[in-house]
Amino acid sequence: MTENEMIAQVTQAVMDGEAGDAAEITRRALEAGLDPLMILNEGLMVGADEVGKRFERGEYFLPELMLAGRAIKAAMEVLNPSLAGKNLTSRGQGSGRVVIATVQTDIHDIGKNIVASMLTAAGYTVTDLGVDVPLKSIVDKAEEVGAQVIAISALLTTSMPYMKDLIGLLTGRGLRQKYIVLVGGASVTEAWAHDIGADGTARNAAQAVTLVRELLKSA
């Protein structure tokens, strides 16, 4: 099997959302002597890009996104030891840590899950705290894992004030400048994000990934 064929298989495993295959093919590719950066950039990330595009076009749905995220995660566990010390920013894939959560009292998670899946697929290390997460837990976890980005979501208008409260908590603890804070949810607007002192918002998951990439680059 040629290098290109192996890389194509890695891409396909991500697109098929097959975690076992993605890990196994990655392992074989490494054993065959393929450059781990090539496996990452030309295999896994190409698959992730394609899954994202198909989702945006309405050809793929949430399960495909989540399964692709799982496949990439499984492959990265195989790949990570070989990537130690490599420059991971050559193709613009993520190398940051993101803590993501739906804020306390809100239990809506589909949009948050899509963003988490696409960030994972884009190579970021995502800690997803789930829904209805107390503000203190979000900040504590960000500190614990050394995150650069805190991404918070709320669908309910009456949960949105907690986003402002989170920024207040960061400020109160003297941590505001340490984090990029992104806010999202159906009712969140750019004006709202600006008013509460967040660093940005995005209209969809693809834009969220771009925003994280840009903000981390300029941080």
């Binding site: 749905f61 989540m66 009456t158 949960s159």
Partner: protein, 456 residues
């Protein structure tokens, strides 16, 4: 029916599964398998399905999913297994008629059949739209003063007396009670004090709901929402709503907002999940009636092709196989003051009315702005009644929707959406009547619909 305390017990003692595995390995994989097994497909140009065997297959697949999966307790990460006998029991016990409201204003909801001689009923109001306190009362009046509106609902209060409302905070209690005070004031103002309500929209957690379960707020003849979380999930908040209503006697409206393009996959899988959700909600939400409100994964609106199809096929599936009281929400993308809102409302009204549902609306502007008014609810009822009166067939309904879609479909990809204007910029507040420009747009659209052959 299964003792509800037994359901609560299962939520504590059932099999453990992580939420991610419930989502992917249970819901998503089961939906995929059933879509393949029953060969379920949809056609973008057949928005109103006219395929009875397909409706039956969707029902069978949903039934199979309900029996196989049961529900999930997010609070405890446990599966609430339900037996086939329990699902069947839930179906046999689902009300076929339901009186809401009291006195001369009471209305009887009923399980609709396809081609039913009886017209559908209408809930008027913007369910969940955030409405400023200053215009809350006139906003509710704008709906309940409409003679065709049978039952009332409303938006949510996000501020009370200048104080921001936070879910789960004592202000939620204040907001929910204030909302219901406004509702009663509105019903009294229009001389319909006994009108039934779907209320406590400002209550997201159980706090407001519990605080409003008093005759001065939500009466036993009113209903409240018991949401089911995406997908097939309950939590202790929503169990608490049910427990409260069982004792108090309030009417339960189940609300599983299935995401079309979410865990169920495309429209066929999402329809299967919606059928399963209603069947499970008979037990876990103790549903007296069901709110049919699928959400488009990207565009939210119920007026998209995908969501219209799901509404049409789920309504038919139940009418043909397990008649139940279903109220289908209308959540258009566009806001008040725009013609597109009226076209979206018309398309949704035709679909909802002809496929076995009663109607509720409109949560204009995706339900996220105060850009909503009673005028679009008037059109909702007029169009639904006209399509019912002319005995529109499912095939004709599809032709109608295909004519309407090009008049609004472009706004789904329009930068910034099509939010329209807030209520106080489309209605004269002192008189609570539409401003002339908004009235004119309504009359123009109505004339267009009449010109197209709708007996309005």
């Amino acid at each position: 029916m299964t003792d509800y305390l037994e359901i609560l017990e299962r939520s504590n003692e059932g099999e453990y599964i992580s939420e991610e595995n419930w989502d992917l390995e249970k819901v998503a994989m089961t939906a995929r398998r059933l879509v393949k097994k029953y060969r379920l497909e949809w056609d973008r140009n057949q928005v109103v399905s006219d395929d009875p065997p397909l409706a039956d297959a969707i029902y069978q697949a949903g039934y199979e999913m309900a029996v196989e999966l049961g529900a999930y307790s997010r609070s405890t990460e446990r599966i609430i297994a339900l037996t086939q006998a329990e699902i069947d029991d839930g179906i046999s016990n689902t009300p076929q008629t339901l009186v809401m409201g009291e006195g001369k204003d009471a209305r009887t909801l009923y399980a609709r059949h396809l081609g039913d001689d009886r017209p559908p009923l209408f809930f008027g109001g913007p369910p969940g739209n955030p409405i400023p306190q200053l215009i809350f009362l006139p906003n509710v009046v704008s709906y309940v003063q409409e003679p065709l509106i049978d039952l009332a609902t409303c938006g949510t209060l996000t501020e009370v007396d200048g104080h921001i409302v936070r879910t789960g905070h004592p202000m939620e209690i204040v907001a929910t009670r204030r909302e219901l005070q406004f509702m009663h004031a509105a019903l009294n103002q229009v001389g319909r004090p006994g009108m039934g309500m779907l209320g406590a929209q400002s209550s997201v957690s159980e706090l407001g709901n519990l605080a409003a379960s008093q005759p001065g707020y939500l009466r036993p003849c009113d209903s409240h929402v018991v949401p089911m979380l995406n997908e097939l999930k309950m939590d202790n908040r929503n169990f608490s709503r049910v427990v409260n209503s069982l004792d108090y006697g309030m009417i339960n409206a189940s609300l599983p907002c299935v995401i079309v393009g979410g865990l169920g996959g495309g429209p066929p899988g999402s329809a299967v999940v919606n059928v399963a959700s209603f069947l499970v909600a008979n037990i876990t939400c103790r549903a007296h009636y069901h709110l049919l409100h699928p959400i488009h994964v990207r565009y939210v609106a119920t007026s998209t092709r995908e969501v219209l199809w799901v509404i049409s096929i789920v309504g038919q599936a139940f009418s043909r196989n397990a008649p139940s009281i279903i109220v289908a929400d209308i959540y258009p993308k566009s806001g008040a003051g725009t013609k597109e809102l009226l076209y979206e409302t018309a398309a949704n009204a035709i679909v909802n009315a002809l496929t076995g549902s009663h109607l509720e609306g409109c949560g204009s502007a995706d339900g996220r702005l105060p850009n909503c008014s009673g005028l679009e609810a008037r059109l909702m009822a007029e169009v639904a009644l006209a399509s019912h009166k002319m005995k529109m067939t499912l095939h004709e309904a599809n032709q109608w929707v295909l004519k309407l879609l090009p008049l609004y479909e472009y706004i789904f990809v329009q930068e910034g959406g099509n939010p329209g204007l807030p209520f106080d910029q489309v209605y004269d507040i002192p008189s609570i009547q539409p401003l002339s420009f908004w009235q004119k747009k309504y009359e123009e659209v109505k004339a267009e619909l009449q010109g197209m052959g709708l007996p309005l």
